[in-house]
């Protein structure tokens, strides 16, 4: 599903706030498609998590995935970097094209997929190592040993953490506050220069100030990265996302599965959603 129009490119009719923020650098009229998801279904054993999901994800935009618990939001983004491969019994149907190439095609290396498409999880999960090593670990494993100090600094700056940690890089990553730990995880993700960042409830365990700094960071990150965020917090989606996909639970013959109900600009979803199920969810009348 493409937001608004049903073509591979969308007009940039993002929220006025967004336009105001980017006034200095006018946005191009069209966007490249990063992910072209076609009729994607995911099952865990006999349970269908998501069913027949089709949507496009666009370069350098923030796409939010919202919906009630159990609607398959996390499953969906985990399909985008083959994270579900690690779950026993998980099975995928349909296609996930990444720049036109089937992510689940023969000969595609899931490790390389996850290098290009990084992920940040709900709870900050730094390694019990120094701040420096947390960030340097990924590049080292991937053989990016040249200029490692510069790479660590660049990643920490990119995650808006450098100024806070530059004098204590040898201290444990676990010594940081929750919000700093989450930014450290973002730094760790971007240190290996992915193109896409998937964020699964990245601020749900954080206090409002740390949440605010993560949201600000997301705005900065989208200049270089394509972001897909799963969030329970609708106002967070409204604040940060350019596009919003609403997933819901569909019940057929007593079997429940997550379906994509609506996908459009965030402004449209939060001012005049096209589908009554979306309207009921965003206005809190769901269920």
């Amino acid at each position: 599903m493409t937001p608004g129009t049903r073509t591979d490119t969308i007009p940039i009719d993002v929220a006025p706030v967004e336009i105001a923020q980017q006034r200095k650098a006018p946005l191009p009229e069209v966007r490249d498609v990063v992910f072209d998801v076609q009729s994607l279904s995911a099952t865990y054993g006999t349970t269908t998590a998501i069913s027949d999901v089709s949507l496009d994800v666009y370069r350098n935009l923030i796409t939010a995935v919202i919906g009630p618990s159990g609607c398959g939001k996390s499953t969906f983004i985990r399909c985008l970097n083959r994270m579900n491969d690690l779950v026993p019994g998980a099975k995928i149907d349909g296609k996930v094209l990444y720049h036109g190439e089937d992510l689940y095609g023969d000969g595609v290396d899931p490790v390389e997929v996850r290098r290009r498409i990084g992920m940040v999880f709900q709870r900050p999960n730094p390694f019990p190592k120094s701040i420096y090593d947390n960030v340097a670990w990924g590049p080292r494993v991937l053989g990016m040993r040249k200029g490692i100090d510069e790479r660590v600094e660049k990643a920490l700056r990119g995650a808006a953490l450098w100024d806070e940690v530059k004098d204590r890089l040898k201290k444990s990553g676990l010594s940081l506050s929750g919000g700093q730990q989450q930014r450290l995880c973002i730094a760790r993700a971007i240190a290996i220069e992915p193109e896409v960042l998937l964020l699964d409830e990245p601020a749900s365990a954080l206090d409002p100030i740390a949440t605010s700094s993560i949201e600000e960071l997301m705005h900065d990150l989208k200049r270089e990265y394509t972001l897909v965020i799963v969030t329970h917090n609708m106002q967070q989606a409204a604040r940060v996302a350019d596009l919003t996909a609403f997933f819901s639970l569909d019940v057929e013959d007593g079997r429940r599965s997550g379906v994509l109900v609506e996908y459009d600009t965030t402004e449209k979803v939060f001012t005049n959603p096209a589908d009554k199920r979306t309207e009921d969810y965003v206005t809190g009348r769901f269920g």
């Binding site: 609708m234 106002q235 409204a238 005049n272 959603p273 309207e279 206005t283 809190g284």
Partner: protein, 226 residues
């Protein structure tokens, strides 16, 4: 279901309808005061404006609180924004009623003939009808009713033009001229009340369609379809 939030929205809308009923009473009082040259009634209309203002402030504060705490979206957001605008239009209408009441006290003791009284009675009745239609179509979410306000407004505009023509025929007598001058303002106030009713209709259309549009555009007039 967010019952507290829904209760607050319902209360805001009920207060808005209450404010509308007060505006109708103020308008009838102002027209009667003008027709019957009843200064006491005019004073009542003037002080009655405080009641309208109290509802206006109550709605403003309610909206401020709702926006801060409940962050309404989608149709809820449109309803809150529409109430914000309709509230302002009703308050302005009540101000015009005060203007009419004040002017009714200032007219000199002249007899311009029954046609003036008839003219203002016609305009006043049409304004009352428009306010009712505006409030009902907002409450009933009735797009057709809201769009019909344009036709009703046209009738007021015509009545306004007739009143102005009659004023021009009042002659050279200074007292008559003063009367005429004041009545131009009264006629204009009634005509503006009609315009505000149309604006309320536009808010109903926004609430229902999520599109801001003016029913009529004076700067780009388009011929209406037959």
């Amino acid at each position: 279901m967010r019952t507290t939030f829904q209760d607050e929205l319902d209360l805001l809308e009920a207060t808005l309808q209450e404010e509308g009923a007060l505006v109708l009473r103020a308008l009838r009082g102002a027209i009667n005061a003008l027709e019957q040259r009843d200064h006491e009634l005019a004073d009542e209309v003037i002080s009655f404006d405080d009641d309208v203002d109290a509802r206006y402030v109550q709605i403003e504060e309610g909206i401020q609180s709702l926006l801060a705490r409940q962050t309404p979206v989608a149709s809820d957001l449109r309803l809150v924004l529409a109430i914000l605008h309709v509230n302002l239009h009703l308050e302005r209408m009540a101000d015009y009623c005060v203007t009419i009441a004040k002017l009714s006290k200032l007219v000199p003791e002249v007899d311009p003939g029954p046609r003036f009284v008839e003219g203002f009675e016609e305009m006043g009745s049409r304004c009352e009808e428009m306010i009712r239609v505006a409030l009902d179509s907002f409450g009933d979410r009735d797009l057709e009713g809201a769009e019909g306000l344009v036709d009703l407004d046209e009738l007021i505009d015509r009545a306004n033009r007739r009143v102005v023509e009659r004023i021009l025929e009042l002659g050279e007598d200074p007292a008559m001229r003063e009367y005429g001058l004041r009545m131009v303002v009264v006629s204009r106030a009634l005509e503006r009340i009609g315009d505000h009713a149309v604006d309320i209709g536009e808010q109903t259309a926004y609430l229902l369609t999520a599109e801001f549009r003016e029913f009529t555009d004076a700067s780009h007039p388009q011929p209406r379809e037959a």
